[in-house]
């Protein structure tokens, strides 16, 4: 089992009395160093990598992953896993299209929907996503069922809903013109609404995790659920809100993705649950809870993004991406543990 001191130290201020930085800051800085090394290596070794277009593409690509990564990080810090985010993305994408497609009297087909106004369609979509989050919360928190099992089930349900509504394909006709506005609006280059939203959400998440009672409770629950309960934290309520939050973030990502492609495709978000876990773990969040930070997840997202882009640009087959993800996860967990063990001797 994980050694308890590692987790407790995280509850201390960033700089302790002895002048040493905390374990969390240490891991965050280490991963930042790794990111810089990876970035430098990619710039030197991969032709055309160090190029403003390429880098801004990279940021835009990783923004979606970071948004769902925020929810996954908070849950992992409190000791729970959410495997349903990928499924929720596809459900949100298809629902947001289905709700606002024109309700023509023609027989049921992929072109006709419910004919709602776009804002109403988005709100309803997000509500449906939060309902999936609430189902997760009910079974995990109330019924005390292992979170992997429950969220794998809700992944199947949410992707199933998307697949049925899109008949295993996509809904891409009959949407109002404003459907594509959110995803295709850009500020400069590829800096679009998703990137801006990612920035806002990351800053908000950092404030929540460092400065608010809600954030600190999350850490305490992950570090020691029994102690958290005994000290009067309503663990069930806290974890439930985290599951609903995570589902909401995945829903927002799904709506934005559908808008970007101007299509509600039921295969969107495939594998994103694992990607979100990989970047969270790369960022130093402990897989047993109580330790981690959204800032680490952002760093992790860019490490993974640079590695994936490099694999692509060097002309390796895409299957290599899966090998990179799998091995990087295990290496990151082991390296971070080794570093912390050495430091805390």
């Amino acid at each position: 089992m994980e050694c308890p001191e590692n987790r407790d130290l995280n509850l201390k201020p960033a700089v302790t009395v002895s002048g040493r930085i905390s374990n969390l800051t240490f891991i965050n800085l280490s991963m930042l160093a790794v990111l810089l090394v990876v970035f430098a290596a990619a710039s030197l070794l991969v032709p055309r990598f160090f190029n403003i277009n390429n880098i801004s593409n990279l940021i835009a690509q990783q923004a979606e992953l970071i948004i769902i990564g925020i929810g996954v990080t908070f849950l992992l810090v409190s000791g729970y896993i959410d495997m349903s985010v990928g499924g929720i993305i596809s459900m949100a994408a298809v629902l947001s299209a289905y709700f606002c497609q024109s309700a023509s009297a023609a027989s049921f087909s992929l072109g006709s929907g419910l004919g709602m106004s776009y804002p109403l369609a988005i709100s309803l979509t997000l509500l449906c996503c939060m309902a999936i989050g609430a189902i997760n919360a009910f079974f995990v928190v109330r019924m005390r069922i292992a979170s992997v099992i429950v969220t794998l089930g809700s992944m199947a349900i949410s992707r199933g809903i998307a697949m049925i509504l899109a008949k295993g394909a996509q809904r891409n006709t009959g949407m109002p013109t404003e459907f594509r506005f959110l995803g295709q609006f850009t500020l400069i280059g590829t800096i679009n609404l998703t990137v801006l939203l990612m920035l806002v959400l990351v800053i908000a998440a950092l404030i929540v995790e460092k400065k608010t009672v809600f954030g600190r409770r999350t850490y305490l629950i992950g570090a020691n659920p029994v102690a958290a309960k005994l000290s009067g934290i309503r663990v069930e309520r806290q974890v439930s809100s985290l599951y609903i939050l995570s589902a909401l973030l995945a829903g927002i990502t799904g709506v934005l993705m559908a808008s970007k492609f101007n299509s509600g495709n039921c295969s969107l978000g495939t594998g994103n649950e694992f990607d979100a876990l990989v970047i969270t773990v790369l960022g130093g969040t402990s897989v047993v809870g109580g330790f981690g930070s959204v800032s680490g997840t952002v760093v992790g997202a860019f490490i993974l993004g640079i590695l994936s882009t490099s694999v692509n640009m060097l002309g390796f087959p895409p299957a290599l991406q899966m090998l990179v993800r799998g091995s990087v996860t295990i290496i990151a967990i082991l390296a971070q543990r080794l570093a912390l063990d050495k430091r805390n001797v």
Binding site: I81, V148, A156, I157, A319, Q321, M322, S327
Partner: protein, 323 residues
């Protein structure tokens, strides 16, 4: 089956162990009412043939879950081993030789999983998700670009899992039955089975009473890896294909089957034989959906709903009937 102090089987435990059979009968009944074809011999043979890989995985998966651990890489292992087996037989190695080499690979992957989880103490979910990605990634690298399938396997590859052996059923089916019998005996009669239950019930207590939990769970991971490879060979033979993605979703099927069988996933108790009934429920559902003409994109939702139903039944049976 548990017995009460005076030796009689209490009827509450009887309900607990039989409700899953009732569920299977109910599903069969419903599909038979909708379509007469469902209980026809060809369909039954088909269902049993399709269930083979899931039965092979479900058995050892139950033991692993009884010990309180999980292996999400089984689907990935099935995909990779189907590719390896296909490549080996295509390279001219005999079916038996190729099968044995593939099983060896399964043992190695199981050993790796056990090493990551028990020696390096990486949480089972994360460790096995990583190996799942490694397996599918390697499988895809080894498959030809484009279609991503290894086709045109030599004549006779389908003998193991498709062609009739006895009573129209293939050899792989009888092998899976044999495997389940062995695993039931392992669970009930051997020290490995006792240790597995003890670790799942209370790992610390088990360790304090001298159970080597690392070795025990590691062994279970190796068994799961081996059986997944066997399922991969059966799958390749059934499809006459090597397909790196053929096992996708099998981990979820295994979990659902184990839950339907009433295994307590906090560990401690469960039954391999009831998992087989769980597997049959799932296979009947997907076959029945085909028979009554439901489009395949309904599968995912049905699976998810069955999982939730299994959870709810489990909760009801455990809390309302037993207490």
């Amino acid at each position: 089956m548990h017995t009460t102090i005076n030796g009689r089987i209490s009827w509450k435990t009887l309900i607990k162990s039989l409700y899953v059979l009732g569920l299977l009968l109910l599903i069969v009944l419903i599909f038979t009412l909708v379509s007469r074809k469902f209980l026809g011999i060809p369909n039954i043979v088909n269902i049993l043939r399709q269930a083979v890989p899931a039965i092979m995985i479900g058995g050892p998966f139950t033991l692993l879950m009884i010990s309180g651990n999980i292996d999400l890489s089984v689907g990935g292992v099935v995909g990779l081993t189907s590719v390896i087996y296909a490549l080996l037989v295509k390279a001219g190695i005999s079916f038996l030789g190729a099968g044995l080499l593939t099983l060896l690979l399964g043992l190695l992957i199981g050993y790796l999983n056990g090493f990551l989880v028990m020696k390096l103490r990486i949480v089972p979910v994360i460790a096995t998700l990583a190996t799942m990605n490694l397996c599918i990634g390697f499988g895809k690298l080894l498959s030809p670009k484009g279609i991503g399938l290894i086709r045109n396997l030599p004549e006779g590859v389908e003998k193991f899992a498709r062609a009739s052996f006895i009573l129209r059923l293939p050899a792989a089916f009888y092998l899976s039955v044999l495997l389940i019998i062995i695993l039931v005996l392992v669970q009930r009669k051997t020290i490995l089975g006792k240790y597995t239950a003890a670790i799942g019930g209370n790992r610390v207590a088990a360790e304090l009473s001298g159970v080597n939990s690392i070795k025990t769970v590691w062994t279970l991971y190796v068994i799961v890896g081996f059986c997944s490879a066997l399922a991969g060979v059966a799958r390749a033979s059934y499809l006459s294909l090597g397909d790196p993605e053929t096992g996708m979703g099998m981990e979820l099927n295994a979990i659902i089957a184990v839950l339907l069988g009433g295994t307590n996933f906090f560990g401690g108790e469960g039954s391999v034989s009831r998992t087989v009934v769980g597997v049959l429920i799932l296979t009947c559902l997907s076959a029945g959906m085909q028979v009554i003409g439901m489009p395949p994109y309904w599968q995912s939702l049905v699976k998810g709903v069955v999982l939730i139903i299994a959870l709810v039944i489990d909760i009801l049976v455990k809390e309302k009937i037993i207490d």
